[in-house]
């Protein structure tokens, strides 16, 4: 990679340039601006958009993607990917439903689901780091594997009778405001993720690994350990999202969150995180998540058919892969 020099294979925090910066035009800023413009248009012109119920709904529905996008951004920035996240969400929900049917305490179940997520992440991590397999292939495999296990665990059952106060947490709002209750833990998680990725040595080593694993290794970064911790974190966040999913939709089935991995990857790429690794920002990824979520909400309200919505989303994603590259071409001096 020609431009790997600006991604600073550093260990400790010497005052190095942040990798994703390139000149004044940054793709993540473009996506953020697009989100603001879309919100502005929607608030002023789309009937039924700008009320607390709809906004809380939009945010609540987008939270699963928004949560998993945080570790996914780091994974993609490190040059890896995890396509098993949707299945981990489903498996976590299936286990939650099955254990609940067995009469286990709900808090104990949530802890078990969290541990399960760690295991799912660890399996991916070990296959990638110990065996050196490409994560795209590994996680396509575990995507099928985890979904299959979910189907075995819960079968065709659909479990809905979780305790009401937990369901209220999953789908309730903060005192009639536009914020869903569950946005609070997400905000904590997002803040921590931003600090870790953009203000710590670990974050810099993530980008260094993504830009060039070899260079990073020579510079003293423990490449495998970085990747392992990212996969494990992704597994954990996915399984907790699985718990949230069940509570939010009051439904545990083995097919929960089918296809969620594509929404997550799409949003992360739309947010300007480079698929080849080495660059990207969490701000961009989060903007990407909410841009797609808002667009979907608005198009539905405006009676755009589901088929046309798929086309619009597809075009947007193609542009998002092209956009950052074109932007870089236009500003070669700032690379």
């Amino acid at each position: 990679m020609a431009d790997s020099t600006d991604t600073a294979p550093a260990t400790a925090g010497a005052g190095l340039r942040r990798p994703a910066l390139f000149g004044t035009l940054r793709w993540d800023a473009v996506v953020g601006a697009l989100l603001v413009v879309l919100l502005g248009i929607s608030f002023s012109t789309v009937d039924g958009f700008g009320n607390a119920l709809n906004i809380s709904f939009l945010i609540g529905n987008t939270l699963p993607v928004a949560a998993i996008a945080l570790p996914m951004t780091m994974l993609v920035a490190s040059g890896e990917i995890d396509l098993s996240v949707g299945s981990t969400v489903g498996l976590s929900g299936a286990v939650m439903g099955a254990l609940w049917n067995h009469g286990m305490n709900i808090n104990a179940i949530i802890v078990i689901c969290a541990l399960l997520g760690l295991v799912c992440g660890l399996i991916n991590a070990l296959l990638v780091t110990k065996l050196g397999l490409p994560s795209l292939a590994v996680t396509i495999g575990t995507m099928a594997l985890y979904r299959g296990v979910a189907q075995i665990v819960l079968g065709s059952n659909s479990v809905t009778d979780f305790p009401q106060n937990y369901l209220d947490f999953g789908s309730g709002r903060l005192g009639g405001s536009f914020l869903p209750t569950a946005v609070l833990p997400w905000l904590v998680l997002a803040a921590l993720a931003v600090v870790v990725l953009h203000a710590t040595g670990f974050g810099r080593s993530v980008f260094a690994v993504g830009a060039s694993a070899e260079a990073a290794w020579f510079a003293g970064v423990r490449v495998k350990r970085v990747k392992l911790s990212l996969f494990v974190t992704t597994g954990l966040v996915s399984s907790l999202t699985g718990v949230f999913w069940v509570l939010h939709y009051a439904s545990a089935t083995y097919s929960n969150a089918t296809g969620l991995e594509l929404s997550v990857v799409a949003a992360v790429l739309l947010g300007g995180v480079d698929f080849d690794g080495g660059r990207g920002t969490l701000g961009g990824a989060i903007a990407g998540v909410f841009l797609l979520g808002t667009l979907q909400n608005v198009m539905s309200l405006a009676d755009v058919s589901a088929q046309s919505q798929t086309v619009v989303t597809g075009v947007l994603l193609t542009v998002s892969v092209l956009g950052p590259r074109v932007a870089r071409q236009l500003l070669p001096s700032t690379r």
């Binding site: 039924g48 974190t233 083995y254 589901a306």
Partner: protein
Amino acid sequence: MRKATSFAALAAGGLLAVSMSACGGATKSSTDKAASSAPAATQSGSADPSAPIKKGLTVGFLPKQVNNPYFNISDAGGNTALTSLGESYKEVGTTSATDTAGQVSYVNTLMQQHVSAIAVSAQDPGALCTSLKQAMSAGIKVVTYDSDTDPGCRQAFVSQASSEDLGRSEVDLLGKELNYTGQIAILSAAQTATNQNAWIGFMQDELKKPQFANMKLVKIAYGNDDAQMSFQQTQGLLQQYPDLKGIISPTTVGIKAAAQYLDGSQYKGKVLLTGLGTPNDMRSYVQDGTVKAFELWDPGKLGQLAAYTAVALASGQITGAQGQSFTAGPMGNFTIGAQGVITLGAPTVFDSSNISQFNF
């Protein structure tokens, strides 16, 4: 760096901690008690059977999947009924039949668009509940059709035919064709499909009757209402069970794919197929002898009845309580059964003698 790694762990732990601190401990048995003591969340207010039909109503149809031939017909029926009453019709929905999050979104969309009533075919009995309850508390009437939600999440359910009728009659149909002997299999839709599972339950029960002593159900396969997967599952069934004599496919996608496979295979005419299909899908297979008979209700009538029910609810003629009755235009009078269920009627059997009379 180790310090930073623990940051990430802490971040993830934060989500866990907050989600757990939201409430105290609870187990299934402790909440079951609470649930049974809570009043049933249904019908409030009283019905006025002679209330005039309100004008200017909009009924939003939310099928399991848009661009699905079956729901195209049912929703067109809804459109016909609403147009005849001078009301407005609209249809929204997801392109995938397993996108529950998407379907929940559309309930919200319809609520924001202030429709008078929602007619929905639920992808999942539980997932829609929260948003449908929100819609009902906003004064929107909710009718489920084809696939029900939990009864507390809608005012009425328009059922295509009783699950019992459908399940038992499909077994009877195949039993007659096979002289009540041989191995049979079921090719269903998704493993979670509410309808199919209810029907299969009654099929299994029917098979316990003495006249079916020599018929054995060897396998229930799932084709996920996907043509290719159903095709492959049929192929798999016949390879796995060479002595298989009959297949019941209680799904329009499944029966068509199975018929397609049988038609092009050595098993044509030897392995009998029945189930639920549409006359247009199955016409050529009935005519060439691959399939002798199959059954279905008229999905167009189902959609019509859903529309009439929605209008009756929105006009205050019914509230969804058992025993209330209303007139569904030219379809006649319907009475609401237990748990708000309105049944369309017995299924129609299609064979070479009558299939040419139907076009849907």
